[in-house]
Structures are given as structure tokens and as C-alpha cells.
Amino acid sequence: MALSRRAVISWLTLLPAVAASVIAMAGLFGARREPFSSAFFTDPFFVHTLSFSLFQAAASCLLSLALAVPIARALTFHPRLLARRWFLTLTALAFVMPSFVLITGLMILFGADGWLNFGQDRPWSLFGLQGILLAHVYLNMPLAVRVMYQALQSIPADSWRLARQQRLSGWQRWVKLEWAAIKPHMGLLAAFIFVLCFNSFAVVLTLGGGPKSTTLEVAIYQALKYDFNLSEAILLSLVQALIAGSVLLAAGYSGKTSLFRIAQRHRTADISLSPTAARNHAAVYGLAWVFLLLPIIAVIGKALGSATVVAIAPIAAATAQSVLIAGTAACIALPLGWAMLWPLRLSRQRHPRTALWAEWFAVHHMVIPTMVIGVGWFAFFIQKVDINRYALVFLITLNALILVPFVVLHLKPLLVLWDQKHQRLLGNWRPSPWNRFFIEWRFIKPTLKPLLALLLVLALGDVPLFALFGQSDQPTLTWYIYRLAGTYRLDSAAQAALILLALSSLLIFWMEPRHARSQ
């Protein structure tokens, strides 16, 4: 059947996302470089970097998942946990926390003169694998907690009652109910966390502490920025994209599971809880609070307790730069993502296979590491335009493209439901295109606030793109913190981090379902 004019136009909306990837690929494959040598792949540096990347990602992922289980269970089973909703907000904040805020906090806590570094003779070193794991667990365990908690919440009340009635032991209940509810999400969750850690840039750059603990992502950056070795950066990027993409695809990534949403209402599972079990759950919950709060308290304490105050002008300029880039990118990504859902919505009912393709094109940037897209664009444009001159344009465009999949994944379930409910009414009433847009706009408007907040927090935390395209004399807040922390000016770094933390916290608070007030 020939495509209607509307269908053809709808597919054109995917052009920006596809063009961005084509440019990146053209850059990666087409750049002039040394003849390819397979010796590169047997080079000890490459082998070590690749194995370290894989190892730290796998270890971070396993640790995050293992630690999340008792916390999610405590949240589900303990009937009276203080400030449960606030804790869930804290997990959201921890997951999207700009890496350099966390790193500053960790350096204040565990750095050479850190508050909690008690080893007098041989102080514990934050730098190396241990520091990377600590930071990755901090950033990703909260996501796992949210997903597992959500899964446990979805177990019907009747099932808990039935388990009680059948006198199931704790272990039987875990196997038959809890694990059964968590399991369907585990593959995707594990893959997602693995890839996040595998692609991690800021954490490894600062806490890696040298070539021994470096990952592909950082090696790409170093090859490009320090060694000016485009051909090595390109080869590393291809390996990186191949591994990250394969892992997500193998885990069946299709944007079907919402990893971030959390139920409005908490239901405590109806199980008999012994006093010891209740105490254990409360203890786990308390420890989780401490773990997630400590770096935040460290940043706040250091920032406010410092005698010197960071120079206002550069920090204000950096904040303005961050808000400009993140705000513009989010405002571009929103309509772009909304429009990119169009072909999917048109083809969903009659051509589900076509709809899958449309969705894949709209979200495919999710599986390509940001650094890879960035390097591809860098390689493509380096000979054609003055990258330094148009740095801001590159930063805004690429940040917007990276954000588009989040818009698509957020709006898709809403709009699919909307179509199911109202498609016939629209056919019946025949509103003009403008009127149609207006009706739909009114429908999605209430959900745009949390989405916009999420997009802003994500863009505020960008490191890889700024590392490639940014101008050192016009840093973003994130990059400014990196420079301060990297030169051990921890007081100033903490003060700058506090501003970024405050911005992110406000946005997260704005985004999360309303708090204890409504409970």
C-alpha cells in the first residue's frame, strides 16, 4: 500500500536523529587517518583498557544490584519508615546527580585529608578501582532500588495474603513472589546499569587516577584531546559503540520498560514481620539514607564552612552558561521528541512492525555512547568549520539530540493511550491541524513539567560533550567544578558544586510525585 502524504511527512520528523547518526558515522569512518592496523587490537594498552572497562562495569553493576535488593525490600515490607517518599526523591536525585558534585563530595569525605579517611599511616586511596566502584554504586544503586521497589509494589495485595495463608517461608516468598516480580526487569536493568558504567566518563576521568584504571570512554577523550590521534579515537569509539549497543540490544531494549517512573502511592506488603526482621529492615533503610546523604552533606558542609568564598563572577558566568546550554537543549528536545512519535503513532495500529522501526529510529541515540556521537561529529566537522567558534551551537545541538530519547520514552505511553481513546473522536470532529495540536498540547501539558526537569538535570550534568567541544574560557558549571576539584581547590569546588546540587535538587523536587504532604 502506498504511503499517504501524511505518513511520508511524519517519517521526515525522524530526520534530525538519523542525520545526527549518519554524520557521526561519516565522521568515524570517513575521516582521514593512518592505515588501519589490526595490531592496535593486540596492543597491551588497548587490551588492558578494554578489560578494565568491562570489569569495572560488571563489578559496579553487580554491586549496585546486590545492594539494592535489601533496600527495596525494606521499603516494601516495613510498615512505618520515616520519610519514605523523601527517600525515593533522594534516590532520584542520586541517580541523576551531576557526577562532579558526587566526586567533590567523595573527595571531601575520602580524599587524602578526607573527613572519613582515618588510616593515619596508609590513608585509603579514593583513586583507582575502589573509587570508581564507590561512585558508580552511588549513582546506579538508587535506580535499581527504584525499579525493584516499583516491581515489588506491583505484587497484588491478594498474593501477599495468599502467601500468608499458605504459610510460605521467607525463602519461598522470595522465590515465588518477590523474585518473580523483580526478574522480568532484571535483564534490562542490569544491561542499563552496565552500559551506564561502561560509558562512564567523569567518574573515571577524575577517580581513575592514571592509565592503570582507565576506560575506553576516557581513552577516546585522551587520544583526541591530548595525543591528537584521531584514528585511535575513532577505533576506540567503534569498539565502545559496538559493545554498549550490543549489550542493550541483547537485553531486549526497546523502550518498553519505564525505568524511572515511581508509583504515586505506597502500599506496604501484607506480611507478618518479626521484630528482628523489622529492626533489620529499619537498619538497612537507615544505612541507605546515610550512604546517599553523606556526599551531599560533605558538599554542603565544606561549602558553607569554608572561610574563603569562591569568586562570584566566574561562577555566575558558568551557571549562566550551563543554564543556557541545558535550557535551550531541553526546549529543542521537547518538540523534537514529540514530533518524532508521529510516525510511530500513525503506523502503530495497522503496521506494528513499521511502528517498531519508527520507535527504534527515534530512540537509537540511547544505545550509542555520547562520546561516540561527539567524536563522530568532531571528526566530521573538524575540517569543515571552526569548531571553537561554533562551540555553543555544537553543544546545544548535541545535548538536545541526546535528550530526545528521554522525551520519546516519556511521552510514548501517554500518547499511545491518548490515540487509543480519542482517535475516533478526532476522526469524527475533524479539527483543523492547529486545533488538533492545541487539544493534544492541553493534554500533555501537565506531564511536561517533570519531563522538562529531568531533561534539564541531565543536560546540566553533561561532561563528555563539553570535554570535546567546550571552550575552557567559557566553562559550564560542571566543567568549572572539575577544574577546581582537579586542582584540589576543594573549598571552591564544593561551593560551585553546592550551586549545581541546589539547581538539580530543585528540579528533582519539582519533578517527583507530590510528597509526604499527600501521604
Binding site: H422, R424, L425, G427, N428, R430, P431, N435, I439
Partner: protein
């Protein structure tokens, strides 16, 4: 004249077959047991499900393959006749941009729902929503109106008032009406008010084509 000629729709495991005609400004009561194809017929005429074979013509023009928004038809479905996030007033302004706000409000007054102009549909009862939906469907400019159990959720008094108003509008606007109804009293009342009412019974019958599946016709 609306002509439905040998229309077949396969919706596994059922196989529907429809055939009837209706003159301009006529009224057709569609009856039959639940689940035997009444709503399927209206959906097919409205263009919301494809027909597998046969033809549908209106004033001798084939309309069976047109998209819903190109057909001379407006429908009132069993549910989802209003946008929940728009007020009653905004819903009517969307559905009826060709008539004045005063006329829209008059219609609401005629059906006793004028007090809800600024409310959202979720704040209305099922019967009130149904009346607003009916106004939106009947006053649209398309000449053919398909109503799927439009009076179902109304109490007996309101019911007669709404049926009378519907028939008045149909006659004064020169519309052709297809109406699915489950209520014999409603049918009787309509037959008393309108002289030329036709009936079409949709019923699944045993299939004689050899595949053992029931057919509608």
C-alpha cells in the same frame, strides 16, 4: 440514499455481512442481540474498521474506502465522546466551530446541562456526558448521523426529552439517522414520532459456507 451492498467484514472468529439501504432523511433503527455486529456496522460505516468486500455509497458516491474524516458521517460512540481534559464549552467549540457560542449554549439548555458549561467531563455523570456528546454529534455539519445507544444512561423523564430533541434536530437539519437501540420503548416512541422508520436486525446466523463459523447478516 445510503446503500450498503453486500458488505463483509471478517473479524475472527466472526464473519459479518450487512446489506440495506436508507433514503435521505430517513431513520433506521438497528436492533439485535449484544455482540452480534451492531457496533461493528457503525464502526465500519464511520471508517474506523476496514470492510473486506462490498460497497457503501451515499448519494451514489462510493464512501466505503474513504478515511473517517472524509466521510459525510458523524458518530456518537458508546464511550469517549468528549476530551476529558477540555471543559464542556471547549469540547463543543472544538466539535462545532461552525455554530455560534449562543447556539451551543442553547442546545445545552435544551438538554438540561447548561450549568456544566465550564466543567470538565470527568465532573459530570454518565448521562450528562452522553447528552453533551449527543449535542456535539447531532449539530455537526455531516448529513449522516450514527448513534450507538445514545439514550442508555438517561433516566426515563430525561430520556423522552432527549429523544424528542434528537428527532427535532434530525428533521430540522435534514439529517439521515442510524440508531442502535436496546430499548423497545424507545423504538416505539420514535416510531410514533416519525412516520417513516425502517428497521434493520443484525443477527449472527449459522454459516452455510462450510467453515462452521457463525455469520452476521
Amino acid at each position: 440514499m445510503l446503500e450498503v451492498n453486500d458488505v463483509r467484514i471478517a473479524r475472527a472468529p466472526l464473519d459479518f455481512h450487512f446489506e440495506f439501504s436508507l433514503p435521505n432523511q430517513g431513520v433506521l433503527l438497528i436492533r439485535g442481540p449484544s455482540g452480534e455486529g451492531k457496533s461493528t456496522l457503525l464502526d465500519a460505516l464511520g471508517g474506523y474498521i476496514p470492510i473486506d468486500s462490498g460497497t457503501v455509497t451515499w448519494q451514489s458516491q462510493a464512501i466505503g474506502q474513504l478515511p473517517p474524516e472524509k466521510r459525510p458521517i458523524t458518530s456518537l460512540f458508546q464511550s469517549h465522546n468528549l476530551f476529558d481534559h477540555l471543559t464542556v464549552g471547549a469540547n463543543l467549540a472544538t466539535a462545532l466551530p461552525h455554530i455560534s457560542e449562543v447556539d451551543r449554549k442553547n442546545a445545552l439548555t435544551a438538554l438540561g446541562v447548561d450549568a456544566h458549561y465550564h466543567k470538565y467531563p470527568t465532573a459530570l455523570s454518565g448521562g450528562q456526558r452522553q447528552r453533551v456528546g449527543l449535542i456535539a454529534a447531532l449539530l455537526r455539519p455531516e448529513p449522516l448521523v450514527l448513534l450507538d445507544e445514545p439514550f442508555r444512561e438517561l433516566d426515563p423523564d430525561t430520556r423522552l426529552r432527549v429523544i424528542l430533541w434528537t428527532l427535532e434536530q434530525i428533521q430540522s437539519l435534514g439529517k439521515t439517522l442510524l440508531l442502535v437501540s436496546h430499548n423497545p420503548d424507545d423504538d416505539l416512541f420514535i416510531k410514533r414520532q416519525v412516520t417513516d422508520v425502517r428497521e434493520y436486525v443484525v443477527r449472527l446466523k449459522e454459516d452455510h459456507s462450510g467453515n462452521g463459523l457463525p455469520q452476521s447478516g
